[in-house]
Symmetry: none
Subunit: 213 residues, 4 copies
Amino acid sequence: MSAEETPEADRAARMREQRRAAIIAAARQTFAERGYHNASINDVIERAKIARGTFYLYFEGKRAVFESLLAESLAELRARIRRIDLGPDARPPEAQLRESLVRVLGHVLENRDFTRLLLTLWLNPDVEVADTVDAFYDHVTALIAASLGHGLRLGLVRPCDPQLVAAALLGTIRGILGYLIETPDADIERVADEIIGLSLRGIGVPGRWTASG
Amino acid sequence: MSAEETPEADRAARMREQRRAAIIAAARQTFAERGYHNASINDVIERAKIARGTFYLYFEGKRAVFESLLAESLAELRARIRRIDLGPDARPPEAQLRESLVRVLGHVLENRDFTRLLLTLWLNPDVEVADTVDAFYDHVTALIAASLGHGLRLGLVRPCDPQLVAAALLGTIRGILGYLIETPDADIERVADEIIGLSLRGIGVPGRWTASG
Amino acid sequence: MSAEETPEADRAARMREQRRAAIIAAARQTFAERGYHNASINDVIERAKIARGTFYLYFEGKRAVFESLLAESLAELRARIRRIDLGPDARPPEAQLRESLVRVLGHVLENRDFTRLLLTLWLNPDVEVADTVDAFYDHVTALIAASLGHGLRLGLVRPCDPQLVAAALLGTIRGILGYLIETPDADIERVADEIIGLSLRGIGVPGRWTASG
Amino acid sequence: MSAEETPEADRAARMREQRRAAIIAAARQTFAERGYHNASINDVIERAKIARGTFYLYFEGKRAVFESLLAESLAELRARIRRIDLGPDARPPEAQLRESLVRVLGHVLENRDFTRLLLTLWLNPDVEVADTVDAFYDHVTALIAASLGHGLRLGLVRPCDPQLVAAALLGTIRGILGYLIETPDADIERVADEIIGLSLRGIGVPGRWTASG
DNA sequence: AATGAATGAGGGTTCATTCAT
DNA sequence: CATGAATGAACCCTCATTCAT
């Protein structure tokens, strides 16, 4: 910790961080393109232009990069989602929801590769890393369920099973994301509106359907 | 074609069919539990209690069982889905939709293993067999989109992008299925009602949300 | 052994012999076409149009058919080769040699498949059956060596190492056979003359070569 | 290309070449002893004392080592064979022929393993690699046939079918090689003389045989 | 720190042989 | 006798991970 060593150490630390980032980037592309199992360490190190052994200096193994990659990417995504503020002075919940959606959709379209990966990882036992993803989905589901509960108490949301509906709404969003990553020039704003419209009012024209459903 | 030969040949054919079904069943569980790549032929033959070579008597290889399994299971599932009849004498579309849903949900709960597998297979590049699954999801999406288009023309459905909404609705259903397969004692009827309610009317209480969304 | 059983037993024995012959024939073609290792029992039983188990009623296994097949075919070939009679009243040895050659060449051209097989079997360790073939080649070599020794004592053959020359002459014949089985319309008589000319007088024009060789 | 890097890189390349050679040597022995099909990669790696994966670092597979081994060994052998110069100032053709023979025989005795392999590979359909060997034998046959044609025009060789005689002479040599590899202390010079004597003048004592043959 | 040659467990597949019907 | 479904040892190959340099 002598002052003399700091500049060198700093530089080394920066280099190390860059390398790590480069490997993660290479891994992200590789896993997205080929799936966890079909992706080989070979693919990753070739893309990252490092030697085989170097890889293991930065990560404990295949599973470890995958986890790191997930953790980082999920954190970025999570940062785009904001809890809806239902306080007295808050802006309309619909607007807040819309902003979160627009941020998420924008991020998704900039990270199609990772999004595809994330979508395929839902419930996937194939991958030893399900936990990280499960935790993310559970987190989001809980967030939605909590919002629903809140809305319910405030009379904004009609009576329903929050758990079930949260699972459904998250599914809706995943469905839309799956559609988006294969649709080059999507209009995010319009899509956000469709999601909100669909979620809040459904697709039925009021009065044209029986009351039973 | 002599009548005398039939009994033996019949019995043999039945036995063969049973074996095949047993292998498919073992494969279904194995693939569902461990994913396509982590599942080994070893796992399958151990579960099916057959010798290694026997497996290859019934299927050309790992990929072939997987495809057969998918094809058969998807066919069963597809058989539960009926196109909605919008003719003048038809029963209310909501009722028809509800029946399809109940059939599908019931089937799903009886085949949790396969359902889990099917859900993980969505968009999966990891699996050499994506085509079969993609075709199924495309088929269902098209079915939904067509229904939406129809409903739109009849004034039952409010203006929307049928492709996008179809992707969303299929996502909603997948979300619910994912929830169900981990919920032991689900009440199918109620779930069907929730899905329909959500799809047609959303979760918002009319009048409590701004008109923009 | 009652007299009544004989006709039946005879018929059965004849049938059995026919089947056996059919299997050997199928095996001969298969082994000739694909080589010992690449030939599968499957190939043989399909060609012979018998069931898998039936094959093992007639032969102990793959190796056993191969040995039987070799033994029978080699016996047929060997029957075409006659020891040269050098007695006082015998016909000219060259004529005798020529007759053996013509018989062998004719047989070879009628059994190209087997000949090819036989040629590839020389020295072949690949095949667990080398013994049978080795014995045949040893037999023929010994025959030639003995003839050479005889001829030597009678002053018909110039001084040489009979073992070495026998190996060489057998090689010459194998070389010719290899050429013949790929030459559809060979004139056996002419070929026999070439072999004898080559063996007895070589290809050199006397007086045009130095004496050293 | 900096001079500093050379020593390391050189050493690495040399090591690599040694390993490769060691594997080829192990393969040569294994294939010679057990034949192509009976030889397993296991045999090879055990003999070469390397791990399974290491083998695949140097060769693409079983067939690839076999082809490399053949190509290298055939090239060495071919290098010992020189075309006979029949020009006006050339040394006597017989002497030239004799030198090629001595070189080839010497090489053969130093590489009994490979020679045995080469001999068994003639016409072998069993082996996926027949082409390389066929090409070699065709090459040598063509060389002999061309020499015969030349000698014929110069009046050194008596009238004959060059193709047939070339096949025969190559057969003669193969026959001798087969004899040699099982004869420990052969006198190469004497064997070369026997081959030449046999080829040019045959084994008959002139005047003691009828003219017909 | 970086390298890349070496490792070996593990996977999918084939095929000669057996045995209950 | 004949059948053909069943068996399992053996084989080739891949790839995540280690370690000497």
